[in-house]
Every structure is written in structure tokens, then in C-alpha cells.
Point group: D2
């Protein structure tokens, strides 16, 4: 499918600050960025960095006063076929070096601390069946509720609270998966049909020799996701990082399916 | 300088487990591995993985019962000249993409939470002078004390407790540095003259366009460090990760300066 | 001084729940409750419990649907003379048994964890001078800011965040005081001249053989406080505890100085 | 039954420190202290405080250098008949004021955070049946393991770790009970037949109008417990609190059943 994306962000900066954006659609084998542009008003030099290790594209600039950021893109997405629920687990010794990393606990996904719960709760399952049971548990036991979490909320807090937003659902899914021996990571994405429209965070898990997207919030179709950034958890994929103070004035995200020409 | 290194580890595994070792000296511009070998007894196939992004070399194997691991190496180290205390801070917009990452909070180094303390305590200093004040604060205010920390101990815990081991000193230094706007990361190393001999953890910080080693424990000379792994914090550089249970039986580390032929 | 107090609370309960109120002015040597009444609408039996150990008066009732609670009181307050800043510390062996308790860490006031900071920061001071330095530190270093804390926020979080509301100021003052060897506890009160009007939380500390009120927020005069409840921390003095779900609809607190007849 | 108790503690104090002991058998309706004595060597004045609210007896003294403490007692215990497993829950509005307190979260027993787990896990049960299911869950899912917990370990940590000692078993039981709406508290006791001999911590829960002892460790018979202290959690019942530094040299506890004359 082909998607037209527009993200508009307006912030006030009370003094000069460095801004790091992770807003740009990633260029991957499954995702062709036909065109895109990033505009900062008032005009500022924007350094656009490409990280070959992750396919991510970051924009860095210096902001001051009232600043508007607009990202526009046209992206062709070709999701791979298949269903992770049928896939086998990959033995640790056969995991690629760059996948191994995603088995480890991270700040927001302290999988070592939930190991005994995961062992009790999902015992007897393997591979895709275990991942599916984890997704189902989260869908059944977490309420989607704005205002229950903040920037310090970990998957452990979410597990205890029983509520959160997409970031929290994703962190808990990643944490359970890693605790179950399945590599997992966080993906930020533009999400077609997500209501209300917003940047989305979903889970990616490694089974049967490749990565698969999973969205435990069930709020948007997997095939309508346009990947932006990929990382160990939300710490890696925040769409805006400010070294200084930024005050949000307005933001909007739109993504529409368009017909190829 | 040239160093001869021997690490010996003996573990008991009560059932088959996957083992990931980060014991091998890194091959970097400053560090030439003249020869090295890793031996697991009883004999097992050891997969040796090289990660070009980090220059790290990992060994992966399947263990069961009583297992002995021996790593032997001869390494030539050419530490770069200079002193970070004289270096200026690099503006965020001028940081390389792969350095930016090390400004972010991580699990064991939650630098966002110590920002207000760092701002109060180290106000008015910049660049190398600020890094030096941080190193001095840690040396003055942390007691080196075994048994005060465990696998879950963060830099915040160490800050409050006022005590820890090399891992904890390193985490607090990294946390203070990131909170002060200076990229910082963790390095595991064989450390010449360290008493008692052990794997060591030290800090690396980015000033004036390059990385500099810092050891807030002051227990071993910087020029006698042989780098093994580099990462955001201890989570990335553990020398042994076991997917299963391992019971330590014995371990020893030796590093000696040798004359080049 | 004599104060006329009115508290009005409106809640919605989606099913029957037990409600515990701590709204009633305490009857103490310094505080004469001339008259007071508590009314729940629609009419419900309200059990009014008196706890002689704390002089607190609790109201318990069963709520369902939309419920309005009105508390009205006329209270004469005679604050004791003197200034804690001049008082000596009481040796632990001379503390009354019921005061000793308030030297111990509690959930929101983990004074054991801030001992090393307190020792470094307030070294060389004793008794009232130390308490005064603690009050001044908090006034200088905490921003009064709504929305930075929630029901789980401890004094440690507040210390790190550098911001909070009256509850958080009080918790940090108690924590520092206990860590400094001075018994301290939390008091909820109606507070004359507090803007905007609300229930207030302040600190009480033990020096020179008696308890003294302290308000590190500096938002209301000490002599205009009408005590409601006293406890180890906010956990003990919440004005509303619900065993079930309550949704706040409206609340208002007024306290006015009136002339004695 | 009648029990002869001896507790011997030896500590080194590197400078003068105040010591608070909670070692003395409580005098309650169920427990008659026939005779007891507390001796500190070298001889020191020991203030013995009695707290009528809790029936606890504390000893306070100033220690320096090497100090030996010996407590000897002869106590007649008459445990009440009955089994909590058959008892109904008491409605909150019918709970005595001094029992209500033990429904609230405390530092080591953050019952608010485990509410959603308790609701899921023990759904459909009431009163004694629910308390019994909680005791059984803990017995089944916690390993008794020394060294997995420290002074900061909460019931939440124990829940996640799946292991602990008597203090941790007790904290988790209290936390689950409170989250289930059943008042619960911590009791320190001399425990007949406990192996190895030590001070013990057990749970007390309120059902059917009275308190009942419960020991989720199942390591000693309930009828052989001699109560010392009672409190919201371990923070209240530590047998030794030192305001200063104490270094443990030796400790032993013995309790033997003796025939009445």
C-alpha cells in the first residue's frame, strides 16, 4: 500500500535548545520512501543524519522561540506475508549478533524482573504459540487509558497498574517476550486508521529467522504501519528529544492510503 | 605497552544452557591483538561472532555440567596522548550520530533523574573541567565496598548509598556526565595492576571530538587497560550472560606487562 | 484565632463503596472545636470514629451513585509560642516511646536512603539550626508545580525531580529531618490564606521536648493552620480513602478568620 | 504451652550509639510473661519502655565498644482456638478504628500496586477461603532462600523475584491480604522448632472479628510462637535499631518447651 503522511509539530522554546527528531520514515527493504521533506519554520539549517546500522534518519537543529516542524512523505509499504503465530523459536546460538541484543533487559523493559511471572503464566508454550499467548494476555489484561503513565513508567509499572497507552502496551509485550526467550524490540510508526491519529508504538519480535510486527493494542492494522525508528525501547525511538526546554503548542499526524499512479 | 592476559572461569550448569561470552580483547586502532584463543573444556563448538559496529567479539556456546573457559591473549596497546580535562564540550549538533546515543538515559544510568542534582552541584563548569569535577566528586564521595550492590543496582541507588564497586562507580560517572550534556559509556577491560585482579569497568566520555577513558575508582592506571566491550552500561558489557542457570565455581584474571620481542 | 471552615466534596461512585473521611478538625490542647457537622447527601448513616491515640476523628459510610459531603466547623486555635529554630535536639534515649516511631523511614519518606546526602549537605549543624537549614534548602530547591507527582511519588522522587506540591514538600522535609536524627511527621490541615484554597499538608518536627509545625512551601501562615490528621506520611492522612472507585466531580475548601463573639 | 527463651546478641560499636531493642515478649491476653530479664554487658542503664497501644516493650540504651545483650524469659502461651480459613470478612464500616489502619499500603507492603494482580489471581473467593488461597499461593510460589533480599526489599520485589526469607514471605502475604480487602500486619516472634533457630516474622490477619496468625513459610507451628512486636511491616518490628553503626559479632536464639511446675 501507498501512504501520504503529514506530521505537524509546534513548540515554544524559552531559550536556544538542540532538537533531535526521529520523524522520518525509514528506508528499508519493505518500505520505499518515494519522496519526503522536513521543514522547520522559521527557517533553520537542519542536519539530516542517516544511521546505516538501523536505517534510521534523524534530523538535528537548533531551536529558539516559536518553532513549527512539518514532515511530509509518500511511502510505499510492502509488508511481508506470513504469521508469527506459526513460527518456531530460534535457538540462541543461531541468533544473529545484532538480534541477540534484543533479548537483554533494558530500562523500560526489565525482562529479568518478570521472568518468574512469565515462567508461571506461559508455561508449556513455545515459539509463535507463546508469543500469541503473550499478545492475548496483554490485550485482555491492560486497559488503554491515557494519563496512567509518564516518562519514567516501565513495563513493570504497567504490569502492576493494568493500564497504559501504546508505549506501555509495547513495553510490556517486549518485556514478556524477552523473559520468554524471544528477542523483541520497539518500533515507532505512522499508523493508518489509528484513532485518534497519533504516532504509534508497536512491538517487533524475532521468530523463525525474521522480525515480525505485533500490536498488542489492536488499535491499527499491522499492514498500515509505516516504520520510523527501531530500538530497545521507547528511550531509543522518541520522535522528539530536546536538550533544553520545549513547550508543546500543537501537534497533528495524518496518514492516508493513496492509490499508486 | 604489551600485555599477556589469562582469564579462567569455571561454572557448573545444572542443565543445558546457552552461554554468551564477552571476554575477548577488542581489535581497535589503539589495540592490536597479536594472538588470542578461547578454550572451553570439555570441548564444545564455540561460535565467535564479530560485531563491526562495536569492534566487539563475542563467543557463544552451549554448556552443560562442569565447564571451564580459558581465554589467553597477547595485546599491544597504544593509548592516545592527551588529557580530557583540557578538552571542550562538543555541541550536540556536531556530535556524530553514533555518539548522540550515549547522551540518553539507560537502565543503569538514568541521567534524566539526576539532572537537577548535577545542575546544582556542578554549575558554572564546562567541558573537561566539568568532567574532572564529576570524577573528583565520585572519588571523594563513594566508598569502594563489596556487597553493597547487586544486579539491579542503578546509578541512582549508588548515589544514595554512597558506596559500590567498579561497576557502580562507572554507572554514576556515566550518569552524571550525560546529565551534564557529555556523552558517556561503559567499557569492560582487563586492568593491569588492579588489586585484587578482576575484570574492570571504567567510563568513557566524549569531549573535543574523541572518546577518553576515565576511572573514578582510581584503582588502576588508564594506560594499562585492555578494552573488551563497550556499551551504554553494564547491561551491554557483562562478560558472561547465561540463558539458563550457571553456578560459579572459580574465576581468575591475570594481566602482565611483557616486553615486546 | 477563630476559624470558620467549610469543605464540600462531590463524587460519583459507579457501585457501592466504603468511604473513609479524615476531614474533621482534631480536638487537641491547642485547638477547640466549638461546633462542627458532617452531612452526606443523599442521607446515609455516617459512623464517626474517635481515635484517642491521635485525637483524630474519622467518618465512615457507604456510598453509591452521586454523593455530596459537606463538613462545617468553627474552631478556636491557640498556637503555642516559640520558634523551633532555637530548640535543641532531644537525645534518642530521652524521646517518648510514641515519638521514637517518627524517626523511622516510612513509605513516602525513605529517610534511610537519603542519609548520606543529608550528612554531606547539612554537616556541622545541630537541632533547630539544622531543621532551619533543611527548611531553607527545600524552599530554595523545590519548585511548587502541580502535575509533577502522583500517588506513588516518594520524597526520593521529589528530591530528584526538584518539584512537587505541598504533599511532596512535606515528605521531603520529613525525610531530611529523620535522616538528620530529628523526629518528623505529616499533618493535614485547613490553611487560612492558602491560595488557591485547598487542604494543606505540612511538617511537624520534634525538638526541645515538643512538636513544632513547619511549612516548607511557605504558602500559608503557621498560626492559621487547623489540624485535621497526623501521621507518618501522606498514607496516614489522606482526607478521602475509598474502598472501591470514586470519581471526583467537584471540591471546595474555605477557611475564614472570624471574630470571637 | 510454656516456653523458655534465650536470645544472645553481640555487637561491636565503633563509637557511641543509641540502641533500641524489640526483643521482649509482649504481655497480651494470650501470653503471660512469667519472668524475664534483659542484661547488657558491660553494665549500662537500660530504659525499658512500655507502649500500651501495642503491648510492646522496648529497651533503649547507649552502646559503645563490644557489647553483649542477653534476654531470658519464661512465657506461658495460650493460643486461641479456631481456624481463620472458616472465617468471614468484616465489612470495612464494621472494622475497629485501630484495625482499619492495617488495610493501608505501607513501605514494604505496597498493596495498592498489587491490586490488579490479586483481583485477577484470587477472583471469586471471599474471607477465610481467600486468605487460605493467598497463603497457599505464597507457599507454592516463593522459594525460601537466604541472600535474595536486603533491607530495601519490598513485597513487590519478592513477588517478582519469587524468593526470600521469613520477612519477605510475611510482607508478600500482608500485601496480598490488604489488596484483597483483609487487614493484615507483621509480627515478630520467637518460634519453637524453627530451624535454624532465629527470630521469626509471621503474618497476622483480621477476619471474623479477631486477629489470626498465619505463617506462609510453614517453617514453625503457629502454636509455638511467642509474640514480641506487632506493626505495619518489618519497619516497625526490627529487633535491633541502631542510631549509629553496629557490627554483628554473634547472635543466637533458643526457645524450648518446658513443663509447667
Amino acid at each position: 500500500m501507498r501512504f501520504a503522511i503529514t506530521a505537524k509539530l509546534a513548540y515554544h522554546f524559552d531559550r536556544e535548545a538542540e532538537v533531535l527528531l526521529l520523524l522520518e520514515a525509514a528506508r528499508t527493504g519493505d518500505q520505499e520512501v518515494i519522496r519526503d521533506s522536513i521543514t522547520v519554520t522559521p527557517h533553520t539549517d537542519v542536519a539530516r543524519l542517516y544511521d546505516p546500522a538501523t536505517n534510521e534518519r534523524r534530523s538535528v537543529f537548533t531551536a529558539d522561540g516559536d518553532v513549527e516542524i512539518v514532515y511530509e512523505a509518500l511511502v510505499q509499504v510492502t509488508p511481508p506475508a506470513g504469521d508469527y503465530r506459526q513460527q518456531p523459536c530460534v535457538a540462541i546460538r543461531n541468533l544473529p549478533a545484532d538480534v541477540l541484543h534484543f533479548l537483554r533487559p533494558s530500562r523500560y523493559c526489565p525482562s529479568d524482573r518478570l521472568e518468574s511471572f512469565v515462567e508461571r503464566e506461559f508455561t508449556g508454550l513455545e515459539g509463535g504459540a507463546k508469543a500469541a499467548a503473550i499478545a492475548d494476555w496483554i490485550t485482555a489484561n491492560l486497559r488503554y487509558e491515557i494519563g496512567t503513565s509518564n516518562a519514567y513508567t516501565t513495563a513493570l509499572d504497567t504490569f502492576l497498574e493494568g493500564a497504559g497507552v501504546c508505549r506501555d502496551f509495547t513495553h510490556l509485550a517486549i518485556t514478556f517476550l524477552r523473559a520468554a526467550g524471544i528477542p523483541a524490540r520497539a518500533v515507532s510508526a505512522y499508523a493508518w486508521k489509528l484513532e485518534p491519529p497519533d504516532m504509534h508504538a508497536v512491538t517487533e519480535l524475532y521468530l523463525g529467522g525474521r522480525w515480525w510486527l505485533m500490536d498488542a493494542t489492536c488499535k491499527a492494522p499491522i499492514e498500515g504501519l509505516v516504520r520510523v525508528a527501531t530500538g530497545v525501547d521507547a528511550a531509543d525511538i522518541a520522535f522528539l528529544s530536546v536538550f533544553g526546554n520545549a513547550y508543546l503548542q500543537a501537534q497533528s499526524f495524518t496518514i492516508e492510503a493513496v492509490n499508486p499512479p
